[in-house]
């Protein structure tokens, strides 16, 4: 748990992303991005890309390998598929964030819950809209294992995977410093079939500060 020294009032960019919506934005090298879980227990499914080379993107396995640990928190370097550091987590009042649980999709909802859940809005549809908002030539190939900020997916020592109630609470935030120019594509998760959003998806606030 690490608090940030910067005050929200000094942020150069501030936006509330409603539940179920995507958000796409470039974060320049040195800028700091904060995500705030305004009402608590809301999963912010997030992808990052090298702003100048979308094939060089956030890699869950490279991040796990580099730190030999499953969860993301202050000090974690978010690694790319080319083995480079995209961003560093510099503050975190939640404590741990998931990168195993992935994003919901309409197809995976049929597998996980019931075939008739296919109609329900899902993160991977938002991700498609989100990457298209940056570059229309990108698509499903560019959408891979993401981060779930504020989501808790503990692995037990005997190797079980569970979706636990969140460790997040209203006002919890995570802050990341961009180590190169990156594009963030966020899907504020609309999932209603499991406790990742406490069965009530709520807004996420995003703030950006220029380098001090």
């Amino acid at each position: 748990m690490t608090r940030s020294p910067v005050e929200p009032g000094t942020a150069g960019y501030r936006l509330v992303v409603p539940a179920g919506e995507p958000w796409t934005h470039e974060i320049k090298r040195g800028q700091v991005l904060r995500l705030v879980d305004l009402e608590g227990n809301q999963a912010a499914d997030t992808l990052f890309y090298d702003a100048h080379d979308p094939a060089n993107r956030y890699s869950a396995t490279d991040t796990i390998r580099a730190q030999a640990a499953l969860y993301l928190t202050t000090g974690t370097q978010l690694m790319s598929t080319a083995g480079e550091v995209l961003l560093t987590i510099v503050a975190d009042t939640c404590g741990r964030h998931d990168t195993l649980g992935g994003a919901c999709s309409r197809e995976s909802n049929t597998m996980r819950y019931a075939l008739d859940k296919e109609y329900m809005h899902a993160c991977r549809d938002s991700f498609i809209c989100g990457v298209h908002a940056w570059r229309p030539d990108l698509g499903k190939r560019d959408i891979t294992a993401n981060i779930n900020f504020f989501m808790n997916v503990p692995v037990t020592p005997d190797g079980q995977l569970t979706f636990a109630d969140g460790v997040s609470a209203p006002g919890c935030y995570v802050e990341l410093r961009a180590e190169r120019d990156v594009v963030c594509v966020l899907s504020n998760c609309p999932q209603l079939n499991n406790p990742c959003n406490a069965y009530n998806p709520t807004p996420i606030e995003v703030l950006i500060w220029d380098p001090a």
Binding site: S59, I64, L70, G102, E107, K140, L161
Partner: protein, 247 residues
């Protein structure tokens, strides 16, 4: 651990022994079984799977784990695609634990861990890395860096403590350990035998691995992999519907 279930006939349609940092890719049609055997003990096989007919559909780490509430792969679980379908079922398995989260080595890691040993010095014993092997094989099917996905590490055991810290378990497999993957879709298989990225062994020594492709019986209604989870039953239904439309 579950016993080996030997539902594939013995005579392979194709066999190959992978030596050095052996890499291989190929399309295996629905219904056949890919058998991988660790010939020396301590092998690692980095594996990625794609729908061979529409390669934008591929193995998905998260759907595989959360769909089955597992952290590591083993019999009787399945490898799920990102479209709610099953790419492969683990029909037999004497290893019992296959890592899903640690990815592959890259050039920087191999140089730091084992030192530099290039082709000019070592000829074909030179040190390769998992990421480059994946990219080389992907390129032969028109795929590239955009298609890199979290890979499986067959035969590797990595455990997590309560805080999420990972530890590689040395000596997990003995010579002769094997795993059978029955392909439930026409599948592009991309694999290599580079060592596991968290393997603390200081020597560069990819193990020999035999690869066999065998004919196998289609899954019955009471197939143990299909019935292992209600999620898998639905993923098999989705897969059957997909092939009903393509037939």
């Amino acid at each position: 651990m579950e016993p080996v279930i030997d539902n594939a006939p013995a005579a392979p349609l194709y066999s190959k022994t992978l030596t050095h940092a052996g890499m291989w890719s190929g399309v295996i049609s629905r219904g056949k079984t890919l058998r991988l055997t660790d010939l020396e003990g301590g092998a690692n096989v980095g594996l990625m799977l794609y729908n061979a007919d529409v390669t934008v559909e591929r193995y998905n780490l998260a759907d595989t784990l959360k769909g089955q509430h597992i952290f590591y792969l083993r019999h009787p679980y399945c490898l799920h695609s990102d479209m709610g379908r099953v790419l492969a079922s683990i029909t037999a398995d004497t290893a019992g634990w296959h890592d899903t989260v640690c990815g592959a080595t890259d050039a920087k890691l191999v140089a730091a861990k084992y030192g530099a040993f290039n082709y000019q010095t070592g000829r074909n014993d030179f040190y390769r890395n998992g990421r480059d092997c994946f990219l080389i094989e992907l390129a032969k099917w028109g795929l590239g860096p955009r298609d890199l996905i979290p890979n499986v590490n067959l035969f590797a055991k990595v455990v997590a403590d309560e805080a999420g810290k990972l530890s590689f378990v040395p000596g997990h497999t003995k010579a002769g350990a094997r795993v059978d993957l029955r392909l439930e879709m026409n599948t592009l298989v991309v694999l290599n035998t580079c060592q596991h990225p968290l393997d603390p062994e200081p020597h560069y020594r990819p193990r020999y691995v035999r690869l066999d492709v065998l004919a196998s019986a289609p899954p019955a209604a009471n197939d143990v992999c299909r019935r292992s989870r209600p999620e898998n039953e639905r993923a098999f239904l989705n897969t059957e519907n997909y092939y009903a439309l393509r037939a």
